[in-house]
């Protein structure tokens, strides 16, 4: 913080007469409404492309069908997670953990290379704010019209515009909440339940809660979420270094700033005409010319705004641009900046990310859809049966995570002459989990008294070859 609270107190006490003995030093700053001006340009188009991409996926995905069911559905009640051809069970939780690690490392990598790319282009807070601001612009007009409207006393016209805006926001928010719940309750059922008002209490809660959060965050909170609530905004600096691309004002080129006549040549002035466009478009209300600030979400709106101004005054673009601290200090060429992007930090992040992504997809591809657990009957150690054979009883917990039936062969190995005394083939219906009791026999004398290591094996008798193995012990009574 640049301003010392002590100085603040000093001013307060000097102003008030006579000076009070005690005071509450108030550090709270009321929010000043920010009216971001619309920016148009290359980066705005990128941002909108990200809005379209993320939202088409988010709103569209629940409506896709796959093999007669919803393509992406997280069925919490049945504890099954359907993602196109893949069905994940609670046992596959490790994939979620890995996915989160991948997300984290992607974030590290992107941030090390390009600063707050996530914040500026893909974060839901940014994306929904973008959508909500678009609605606001369509209904209340441009930045100056909105400021004028807010200063006006209440009138029928103002009330009409405001209610139209909030109604539109509310509709988008509710649809967002509806879509969110559509990932957990089949979306067609949900639509029917919504139309007939037959939603369950939790569905009501989550649609309204998620909708309210969307409305509140994108409509009202906006940059405050990034400035005060988001933890990522605060720890990103640990991934920044002097070669990270950040949105930078070229001070050497721009200063001294100043307004100038269109016809007279600028006298001793830099390229910045101090039009404050970069400040007006900023969604967090900062002045990028003060350097890198924690409030900057990296949306590049100021780059677009400045570029169009530079075009108009006939100066080269890029007074505000993606650049690095090193590049500013040492006047690096874009080529040098690119070369410096491949520094150890980026390479390490990249290598780890690549490794985890590889492991993730490799393990998904090699994942066996049948799971096996062996539980030995503890009630008896082992029994002697006909011909002096020793018998142990096991319960095989077999789980078919596929959406089609499987026929499997049970095999057991580890002791000479070991064999199943129960049928060795078992059929499992789609997504069935079953306990199969099996009896295993070994000839007398082929195993030493006590516990012997054995191994069960399941082999698919149909479809793609697949083997699942599980260790167990065989107990021979003394």
């Amino acid at each position: 913080m640049a301003k010392s609270p002590l100085r603040q107190v000093e001013r307060d006490t000097m102003r008030s007469e006579p000076a009070p003995k005690v005071a509450v030093i108030n550090m709270y700053a009321a929010r000043e409404e920010i009216y971001p001006r619309e920016a148009d340009g290359r980066y705005a188009r990128w941002r909108w492309a990200c809005v379209w991409l993320t939202q088409l996926v988010f709103y569209g995905l629940p409506w896709l069908q796959w093999n007669g069911r919803q393509a992406v559905l997280f069925d919490l009640g049945a504890r099954k997670f359907y993602i196109f051809g893949l069905v994940l069970w609670p046992q596959d939780f490790i994939y979620l953990a890995t996915l989160l690690i991948i997300c984290a490392y992607s974030l590290f990598l992107f941030t090390a290379v390009g600063g707050r790319l996530w914040c500026g282009y893909a974060c839901p807070q940014t994306v929904y704010t973008e959508i909500f601001m678009w609605i606001e612009r369509k209904i209340e007009g441009s930045r100056s019209a909105r400021m004028r409207l807010d200063r006006q006393p209440w009138s029928a016209a103002k009330l009409g515009k405001k209610s139209a805006k909030h109604a539109a926001w509310g509709a988008v928010a509710l649809w967002t909440g509806f879509t969110f719940v559509g990932y957990f309750t089949p979306v067609k059922t949900l639509l029917y339940e919504t139309l007939t008002l037959g939603l369950g209490p939790w569905e009501w809660f989550w649609i309204l809660f998620y909708g309210f959060a969307t409305y509140g965050n994108a409509g009202w909170m906006r940059e405050q979420v990034c400035k005060y609530m988001c933890p990522y905004a605060r720890f990103q600096s640990s991934m920044f270094d002097k070669d990270t691309l950040i949105i930078t004002y070229d001070r050497a080129r721009g200063e001294p700033r100043g307004a100038r006549s269109k016809h007279a040549p600028a006298q001793g002035l830099g390229d910045c005409i101090d039009c404050s466009m970069c400040v007006q478009v900023c969604p967090t209300g900062i002045d990028i010319r003060n350097g890198l600030q924690y409030e900057c979400i990296g949306c590049a709106a100021c780059i677009d705004a400045c570029n169009s101004v530079m075009d108009k005054v006939g100066s080269p673009r890029g007074l505000i641009r993606y650049s690095t601290e090193h590049a500013m200090q040492n006047k690096l060429t874009p080529q040098q900046i690119r070369r410096r992007a491949l520094r150890p930090r980026v390479l390490v992040y990249g290598a780890i990310l690549l490794l985890i992504v590889g492991a993730f997809f490799g393990s998904l591809a090699m994942r066996t859809p049948v799971k096996l657990d062996v539980i030995r009957d503890r009630g008896s150690m082992g029994r002697e049966v006909e011909n002096g054979m020793i018998e142990n009883v096991y319960r095989l917990q077999i789980m078919n995570t596929d959406e089609f039936p499987h026929r499997l062969r049970i095999a057991v190995s580890g002791i000479a002459g070991i064999a199943l005394a129960t049928p060795d083939d078992v059929s499992l219906a789609a997504t069935e989990s079953r306990a199969v009791p099996v009896r295993v026999r070994v000839p007398h004398g082929s195993a030493h008294p006590g516990s012997n290591r054995i191994e069960f094996e399941l082999e698919a008798l149909d479809g793609r070859p697949m083997k699942v193995e599980e260790k167990a012990v065989f107990i021979v009574p003394r």
């Binding site: 030093i25 709270y28 009957d377 029994r383 009883v393 009791p437």
Partner: protein, 307 residues
């Protein structure tokens, strides 16, 4: 319901809880009123900590929104203690109990699965046993409730009867099996050493018992033991074939609940046996027991069912 030994402890805890809440409220209130002293020269009291040359730490109250969150926790706490159990042994206005939740869950499950069992309950046990779906349900029930003693394969172990053979202590008709599961069984054999006489007599009777089932035995001892067997015949019958009405074992087959060696039989005669199968009616209910009984009967009567 009070689990305290005396009413004092309930009041003790309630008073501590209320004092704790009141203490928190007073602390919050005084802290939110705290003000920082400003000295005549305009400087203020700080905690004395200073960083980065000019960053000092004031002793301000916490932000208002934060204080309000604390106040809300107090309101929540009081409301909670009024509605739910928590204040000493006060049960709360809503009458909530954890057993109530369990019962509600049980009721839901019954509503969901009850009709499946109800469908079978009105069918004859043999008809139910012929239904593969009922057998699959029965197997799951068996693996959950019966397998601990009788084994996952229902073949039992020492002291726990094998349910896949056709030898029954208390009767193998489907209805008899159902009765056994519903009400349990208590199989008792008294110690017979005193009634039989000497250790020698016990050994002789044991060999006579072995001879009944055609097992390996000592003919001389068996002949000597035969007259002594009269003491056993009261329960096991003169021919040793047992009596299912009182659960006495058939000694003429090669099925042994505790083992068929001469030593084990002598131990059984000397010490007697006491064996309990618990009753399941209260725990599982008639409908589930019906399906279970059909499954158990199927193990020895439907080919392949016990594999």
């Amino acid at each position: 319901m009070a689990d305290f030994t005396s009413g004092f402890w309930s009041i003790y805890i309630a008073v501590l809880t209320i004092l704790g809440i009141a203490g928190c409220a007073i602390l919050l209130w005084t802290q939110s009123k705290a003000k920082v002293a400003v000295k005549a020269d305009g400087t203020v009291d700080t905690t004395g900590h200073q960083w980065d040359e000019d960053l000092a730490e004031l002793n301000n109250p916490m932000p208002r929104w934060w204080m309000w969150l604390f106040y809300i926790t107090i309101v929540f706490g009081i409301a909670y203690l009024l509605l739910y159990p928590g204040l000493g042994s006060f049960a709360g206005k809503l009458g909530w109990r954890s057993t109530g939740e369990y019962e509600a869950e049980l009721k839901n499950a019954d509503a969901k699965y009850g009709p499946i069992f109800a469908k079978y309950q009105h069918e004859d046990l043999k008809t139910v046993a012929a239904d593969p779906q009922a057998r699959a349900i029965g197997e799951r029930l068996f693996l959950t409730y019966c397998a601990q003693c009788h084994g996952s394969d229902a073949r039992g172990s020492k002291g726990f009867p094998n349910l896949t053979d056709r030898d029954w202590l208390h009767g193998g008709a489907p209805e008899q099996i159902e009765q056994t599961i519903l009400h349990g069984q208590h199989g008792q054999m008294p110690p017979m050493a005193a009634a039989l006489g000497s250790d020698k007599d016990v050994e002789n009777v044991a060999h006579y018992v072995l001879s009944l089932s055609g097992s390996t035995y000592d003919p001389i001892k068996a002949v000597l033991g035969k007259p002594k067997f009269a003491a056993c015949a009261a329960c096991h019958g003169a021919d040793g074939s047992g009596n299912q009405a009182i659960g006495s074992a058939n000694l003429t087959d090669k099925v042994w609940l505790y083992g068929g060696s001469a030593d084990t039989i002598m131990e059984t005669i000397r010490k007697g046996r006491d064996n309990v199968m618990p009753a399941w009616q209260d725990f599982l209910g008639d409908a589930k027991v019906h399906v279970l009984a059909a499954y158990v009967w199927s193990l020895s009567n439907i080919p392949g069912a016990s594999d």
